[in-house]
Symmetry: C2
Amino acid sequence: MHDVARVAGVSQMTVSRVMRGTGYISKDVRDGVVRAAREIGYVHNRLAGGNATYDNPIVGVVVPTMQNRVFTEVLSGINATLGESGLRPVFGVSEYALDHEEDLVFDLLSWRPRGLILPGLEHTASLRKIIAQTGVRVAEIMDIDGDPIAASFGFSQARAGAEMAHHLLAQGYRRIGYIGSLGGLDLRAQKRFEAFQRTVRAAGAALVDVTRAESASSMVAGRRMTAAVLGRRDPPEAIYFANDDLAAGALMHCLAEGVDVPQDVALAGFNGLDFLSALPKRVTTTLTPRFDIGAAAARWILNPEAGDTARVHDLGSVLRPGDTT
Amino acid sequence: MHDVARVAGVSQMTVSRVMRGTGYISKDVRDGVVRAAREIGYVHNRLAGGNATYDNPIVGVVVPTMQNRVFTEVLSGINATLGESGLRPVFGVSEYALDHEEDLVFDLLSWRPRGLILPGLEHTASLRKIIAQTGVRVAEIMDIDGDPIAASFGFSQARAGAEMAHHLLAQGYRRIGYIGSLGGLDLRAQKRFEAFQRTVRAAGAALVDVTRAESASSMVAGRRMTAAVLGRRDPPEAIYFANDDLAAGALMHCLAEGVDVPQDVALAGFNGLDFLSALPKRVTTTLTPRFDIGAAAARWILNPEAGDTARVHDLGSVLRPGDTT
DNA sequence: CTGTTAGCGCATTCAT
DNA sequence: ATGAATGCGCTAACAG
C-alpha cells in the first residue's frame, strides 16, 4: 500500500479507503489510486486488515458430507448470498460425526470468521461452550425442531416425517417399511424416521421392516437394499426412504426386475431433487428449500443489525405426491 | 497470546511456538501453555501470522459449477488432501465464464493463498499476467491438452473423445449424434466433441445431429433433448453425450417410451459417475479420476520442494463399455 | 475529503 | 530450549 500511495501521490490511508470503497474519496484521487495499483500490480491483502478489525470476510461452514447434492446446494445458496458482499464461505466436512464437527469449529474459529453455519441443532457440550466464549454468530440449518443457539433456518424434520406417514396411510398402505443409510448417523433423517414411525403406529398400521446401510446413501445403495427387502417374506406394501437417491435406486430396481410401482410396492423419497423429474415415474417426495436455507442463513450472518429477532426460521417443506404411492 | 503467556508464565513467543508445533519446546512448558490457553478460552488466530509470513494456510480454488458432481468430487479430493496439512480450500464458482474466472482469481489472490487450482488450460490474458506478476503456484486441472502455466493434472479430453468415437465406430454405428449443454461454454466438453467429430468423419461416418441445451447439463435436460432428437427424421443410431447426467436422462426417456437400447439407439456418457451402476442398463461411459485429480493438484501445491518437475500429469481416463452401445 | 498516529495478533531473527 | 526486539500489511480513531 505504501508503494501504491507513493506512486499515486497520496497517503497510505487513502489507498486503504479506495481499496475498501469506504469513506468519501474524490473521483480524481480514486482513479489515480486505482491506476497506480494496476500499474505496479498491487493486489489488496484482505486478511491483513482482519488483524485490526478482529474479523475477516469469512463465514465458517460445516457440512456433514459433500457426497450429497443436498449440501452442495446449501453451500451454493450460502456462496451466492455471501458473494454479493465479498465474503466467502470456508467449509469443513464433518462426516456426520459430532466430535469431528467440534474439531472443525475450533479450527474454523482460528480464522476469525464473521459467523458460523452449522448443520442441525445437536452439538457437543464443548462446542457450545466455545461458541459461548467466543461469541460468534451461529446459524443452525436444516432443522428447526429444538432450541437454537442463536437462530435456526430450515423446516421441521418431524413434521415432514409425520406428513409422509399420513400420506401413505391415506393411500391405504398398512404394512410399511423404512430404508435409510449411515447406520442412523444422520440425525435429521433419524428425526424424520421417528416421527414417521410414531405416526404409522398411532394409526394402528405396522412398520414391518427397517433397514439401514452402513454406507452413505446413494442410488446404488437404495437399489441394493430394496432388492433385499423385497426378497424377504411378507415384504412391505410401501417403503419410506431417507432420501431421493435411495428411492430412485429402488425405482431402478423395480424397473429392472419388473416390479410394479406402486401396485407391488409404493416408494417415497425425501428432498425433491431435480433429477427425480427425469425418471420414468414421478417419485413421491417432500420438497425442501435447500438453496434458500443456505441463502437465508448467510443473509442473517451478514446483517447483524436487521430487525430480524426471530430465533426459529421455518422455510417449510412440501409433500409432493407422485406416481409411486 | 500475551494473556496466555502471562497465565502460563512464559513469553508470548513460546506460546506462538506451541500453537504452531514448531521449534523445540519442553514438554512441561508445552503442557502449561496448552492448559493456560484452554483455561482462558484462547483460540489461535491462524490468519494474523500470515501477515508476517506473506501467505496463509489457504489454497484458492476455482470450479466452473457446483451443480455437477464432478466438481464437488474434485473439491472433495482437494479438501481431503489439504486437510492433512491444516490448509483449507477457499473456492469461487466461475459459471464457465473466463472473465468471471479472472475476477475470482483476483479476489482469491487478495487472500494470499499458498497456491491456486484452476479448471482447464484456457484463461484470459489478464489472468495470466497477474499470475506471472504475483508468482503464485498454479495447478491447472481436468485437462492436459495444452501448455500449462506451471503444471496440469488431468487427462486428455481429446483422446477421450476420439476413443469413444472409435468405440462407436467399432460397434458399427455410422449415423451418429451428439448432445451437449451450456451452449458449448464447457471448453473441456468442447475439446472432447471436436476430437470425437474429427474421428467420426475421418472414418467416413456421419455426425448427423448436434444438439446443445443452453441450460446446465442434467438428467432432465438429457431426457428432453433426447426425446427431441429421436423425434426428428432419420435420427442417429448412436448418441454421444457430454456427460453421464445427460446420458442417464436419455436412458430414462428410452425406458419410459419403450425405445430399445441399444437396438433403436445407442447411448454413451462421460465421467463414470457412481449412480450409473444403479440404472437398469449399464451405460457406456469414460471413467475419469476426479477425486484423484483434486488430490494430486493439492499435493503438488503442498510440496513445492518435491522432486516432481513434470509439468503435465496424466492421470488417465478409461473407456468402459456397457450395455447401451 | 484526506492525513497522522497508534496498534491489531502474530512470526522472524537473533540472542542467550 | 526460551525470550526480546522488530516489523508484517492493514484499519480505527481522530484531526483538520
